[in-house]
């Protein structure tokens, strides 16, 4: 299966009479886009703002971030969530470099569980979103909109905006084309059969927080009864999975630019054979956890025939148990594993880093501690929040994009 991501670089973004891309300058018809997004009856009003790298600007109440992508060959965008249902991951997709759509949550009373993006200062060094030109979508809920409806609506607004921007690239030749070409796992050329076969086990949701009916995650399905399954990595790069409504340790952007998948592709055919991706969800009951671990390990060992597997999780301690249980079963089958975990310590102590582990899971990489405090200075301007831009104590976890459980950043907790 072959996907071509056709990248157009963007070096400036400004408001303009029409949305168009010309020589890396992107103009956005903000009024027109706003009117389009306001057609959703679940939203009372939509506000669009622009934030640029280097500005003294803080975006607050961040719900999720989307990469600007649009299918270039008539296929559907974000099927099941925005577009109609169909499969993605092959063909051509336009992508804008250095542009992100940031969606803020204007409904929740207490924004302390939401993240911020600073366009300059110490937080900016930790997050890729300080280096992207951000179109910020802030929508107020209609009076009748409940929580789940509102979140579904703002997510759709964000995706709609992301597609709208990327479509501007269709008028120009792409600057670079990245090709992701991976045959089915059974089709390994003889001369490459000696390469270690590596799989990726991607936990996409945790049932400690059940999904709402309109909280589509996998091709729009809320994965309420999902058993471990296989998916082609291209599908993940092309919008098959969007993040659910809870948590802040993964953005949809990070899934669209999935660092583990990109890294495995980079080494594919040279240092390893990328044998495929297993999707799992973290379960909330013991029997389901046992079933899920057994089936996922089976897919890794017997269907993908992997020699090694990389694991990521989504969430805190309970998801870690699921991940560890699956990895332990893989190790018992002779499949070597590496797990990407988060430093869970709340008191900065080494003992608190990892709440749980099975013996034998000795290869752990961490994405840093979300609890560690960091002082952020005031910013001249704020978007998406009424709170004054005063200097307040933040944590790494409250900086959107600093701690990403799929391993997208260089933040790492070091034991000292």
């Amino acid at each position: 299966m072959r996907l071509a991501l056709e990248w157009s670089d963007v070096t400036s973004v400004a408001s303009g009479p029409a949305t168009r891309l010309s020589a890396s300058a992107l103009e956005i018809d903000l009024d027109g886009l706003r009117r389009q997004l306001e057609r959703d009856p679940r939203l009372a009003s939509v506000r669009l703002d622009l934030a640029h790298p280097g500005e003294s600007c803080r975006i607050g109440r961040v719900f999720d971030v989307y990469a600007a992508r649009a299918r270039d060959d008539g296929a559907e965008d974000f099927p099941g969530v925005l577009g109609a249902l169909c499969r993605v991951g092959s063909g051509r997709t336009r992508a804008l470099g250095n542009v992100a759509v940031v969606v803020t949550d204007q409904q929740i009373d207490n924004p302390s569980t939401l993240a911020v993006i600073d366009m300059c200062g110490p937080a900016a060094e930790l997050s890729v979103f300080a280096r992207t030109h951000n179109l910020v979508v802030s929508a107020r809920p209609a009076a009748s909109a409940g929580r789940s409806e509102y979140l579904a609506a703002i997510r759709q607004a964000g995706l709609r905006a992301a597609v709208h921007l990327a479509r501007a690239a269709r008028a120009v030749e792409p600057d670079t084309i990245e090709v992701f070409d991976l045959p089915a796992p059974t089709r390994v050329p003889g001369d490459l059969a000696h390469l270690p076969r590596v799989a990726y086990v991607f936990q996409i949701h945790s049932h400690q927080r059940p999904t709402g009916v309109d909280e589509g995650i996998l091709y729009g399905d809320p994965v309420r009864r999902m058993v471990p399954t296989l998916i082609h990595p291209n599908e993940l790069l092309d919008g098959a999975v969007v993040r659910g409504f809870m948590g802040r340790a993964v953005t949809t952007w990070a899934i669209q630019n999935h660092p583990v998948i990109r890294e495995l592709y980079a080494l594919h055919g040279r240092a390893l054979w990328f044998t495929g991706v297993v999707l799992t969800v973290a379960q909330a009951t013991e029997p389901e956890r046992v079933r899920s671990a057994a089936m996922a390990a089976g897919l890794v060992a017997d269907v993908l025939g992997a020699d090694g597997a990389i694991f990521t999780k989504i969430g805190g301690g309970a998801p870690h148990v699921d991940m560890a249980q699956t990895a332990a079963l893989c190790e018992a089958r002779g499949v070597k594993t590496t797990l990407i975990v988060e430093d869970m310590s709340t008191d900065g102590s080494e003992e608190g880093m990892l709440l749980f582990n099975f013996p034998g899971l000795d290869a752990l990489v961490n994405v840093g501690s979300a609890q560690e405090k960091v002082a952020l200075p005031a910013m001249a301007r704020t978007i998406g929040t009424d709170d004054p831009a005063a200097a307040t104590a933040f944590t790494y976890g409250s900086i959107c994009g600093a701690i990403e459980q799929v391993g997208a950043t260089r933040v790492m907790a070091l034991v000292q």
């Binding site: 049932h207 400690q208 059940p210 009864r225 909330a284 009951t285 013991e286 029997p287 389901e288 301690g317 309970a318 148990v321 560890a324 249980q325 709440l355 749980f356 582990n357 099975f358």
Partner: protein, 74 residues
């Protein structure tokens, strides 16, 4: 979460009915739910009355069927 309990050294561990309702199930009638709760607490009492030498899991309540009706208790 029984693996965590075993890892930290809890010696008598009983599997319950899930994180969000360890001793219940909103999909059951009040009567069935209480019966489920009673079964799990009985299992806990049995564990308390049993000699153990190392962290031990006592039985487990099978996950309810998709339609919410309880499976046979073990």
């Amino acid at each position: 979460m029984t693996p965590v309990a075993l890892m930290v050294g809890a010696n008598r561990v009983v599997s319950a009915a899930g994180i969000i309702h360890p001793l219940g199930n909103a999909e059951l009638s009040a009567e069935d739910e209480k019966a489920l709760r009673r079964r799990i607490v009985e299992r806990a009492l049995a564990a308390l009355a049993t000699e153990v030498v190392r962290p031990t899991v006592f039985g487990g309540e099978p996950a309810p069927d998709a339609d919410g009706s309880p499976s046979q208790a073990t």
